[in-house]
Symmetry: C2
């Protein structure tokens, strides 16, 4: 069985166009979203913009369960996780298409409530439904195609991190994984822990921060690279390192780890492991040159410097991230975030 | 259980934006594809164009089987059926995104061969892969997002058929359904019928015809409305009637029905029923004012006039199509094309 990155490589190898890249395509496969040099008739004061497109599958039994997750949360999250890819590019979301397959018995109340959640997300993000597809299927299958706009040439990619850049992350890491673990261990019905489920059920995505990182205050990008933490810090930082041809040094003590309440102590959750490898936080992980002053928070969202980019070869996947523990001891961080084909 | 059209209506009701339609959106949900007033930097001599977007799910056990259909044909058809929606808008395809979920055991040879078929389709249609998503899943789940361009204001919709317009269809109807029936009845291994499977396995889509219908010879649209025959003539013509607020009169003797070989006579296929209700031919069904001379063929593809648009109310789904049999007797045509939620 191939790993997810090998499958993506295979798809790209087989479907790569034989001729040269069309000049309307600024950025194709391999980043959070594609960027087209299509002039978007924006009415913002930011002048001409480019089109940013992404798609994201959300599958029952792989990404969610219909028996334990409220349908409204499923609808909200389906659109949020797809739109987080636009945040990672620094784009302003505008529209989406919903491809939906579901069993006939879920086509009544369940569908209505799922759509209510999705509608809430669409309103929050400022997006309009422009099309879609429906089908009957034994399991719920969703695919969200999302589109937005970004100032010409300003889309944030994974490929421009440079040695010396600082590495930053928004919010706290591991919170969504903790929520998922509580559900998987059957602890989610306990009222005192209900609040802990929210990051998993209804993740907040970082659209304002993404826009600011891409366009800055004076139309000068703040970040040199960015990605959203969908697979987990270790995997997502590795994606930046691979795309940029660099390595990373991360300080364990600086990572903004999820707080584990004392009442959960006996369940032995390890906050550092959750923060390093837990998926679906949908925070922004980005790099910025040292001369750019990054504030400790942006519009109420914490921003933490967790390390720095260092020189490195193009070693695929291995030895890309050096983890420095509180005593100063260094080790190579294993890439253990979410890989659908590896199971974890 | 709701029908497919009721589910689409439900989705639209719940996700309809509360404010006014954004002015960058020329055509939203409810047609073969959406049209955005996004300026596409085309290098054709046709001047400025608009962006056309559509998405299409292609699901194992619903739309295809992996044990009987060659994987190359699955890859080809996945992209062809999605791109047929661009043909129905009169657009020139440019790019696609592939969202793919599959079992680990299909991630080797099966995947490679599926991608070879998809790559062939991409080359034929002139499309570039710009992004996607992969995941592991118990069944193969594909979603294709396709994009193209059309001259400003020239996209063909379902909504502009007018009383007096002629109704035309390309190619022959029922051929794909015949191929599917041969496979379902276990007759597909017989070599003499192999050729009959092709319309089901590897449908030809009508991109050149669509472009001509939208843009004509002198930048004047030929067709007043168009749709691709994905659900079947009865369902697809009903879609045009509903969207345009008209009715249709169709002459049974004029429908270009699939030819049933004499060797299949004992299996009692009814070519008229196949042509009226069989899905997935991906031909173009269109209307045109009587003053537009429609040739009997276009670049080798047969074009047949099968009826005319007549005045009518907005009766949803029922009594929209009058079928005239060879003796001149009239009857109401039941809408019995493909509805995923009805099962046929």
């Amino acid at each position: 069985m191939r790993s997810e990155s090998k499958i993506i490589h295979r798809i790209w190898t087989k479907l790569r166009p034989t001729g040269q890249t069309p000049d309307w395509l600024r950025l194709g496969i391999g980043d959070d979203a594609a960027v087209l040099r299509t002039q978007y008739p924006s009415h913002s004061d930011r002048g001409t913009t480019e089109l940013v497109l992404s798609c994201d599958a959300f599958l029952e039994k792989i990404h969610f369960r219909v028996d334990t997750v409220p349908s409204g949360a499923i609808g909200y999250k389906a659109l949020a996780r797809a739109t987080s890819d636009l945040a990672a590019m620094g784009a302003t979301p505008r529209f989406f298409m919903l491809s939906l397959a579901l069993p006939g018995e879920l086509s009544g109340k369940w569908l209505d409530s799922m759509l209510t959640g999705m509608s809430q997300a669409a309103r929050e993000f400022g997006m309009v439904l422009i099309g879609g597809d429906t089908s009957q299927n034994a399991n719920v299958v969703m695919n969200l195609t999302v589109g937005g706009e970004v100032a010409v040439g300003h889309a944030l990619t994974r490929a421009d991190a440079r040695p010396g850049d600082g590495i930053y992350v928004s919010g706290t890491l591991g919170a969504a994984q903790l929520g998922l673990e509580l559900m998987l261990r059957g602890l989610s019905r306990n009222r005192q822990w209900k609040k802990l489920l929210e990051p998993h059920l209804q993740p907040k995505i970082q659209l304002d921060l993404g826009r600011w990182l891409a366009e800055g205050k004076k139309s000068c990008a703040i970040a040199s690279s960015a990605i959203d933490t969908s697979d987990g810090l270790s995997s997502d930082l590795a994606h930046i390192c691979e795309a940029s041809g660099v390595k990373a040094r991360v300080f364990a003590s600086q990572i903004p780890q999820v707080q584990i309440p004392a009442s959960l102590r006996k369940h032995e959750f390890d906050p550092l492991q959750l923060a390093l490898h837990g998926g679906e936080d949908y925070q922004l992980l980005f790099t910025a040159p040292q001369e750019h002053r990054i504030p400790p928070s942006f519009k109420g969202t914490l921003i933490t410097k967790i390390g720095e980019i260092v020189r490195g070869g193009t070693t695929r996947g291995r030895h890309l991230i050096e983890l420095v523990d509180p005593s100063g001891r260094k080790s190579q961080l294993a890439i253990e975030g979410w890989d659908s084909f590896r199971g974890k």
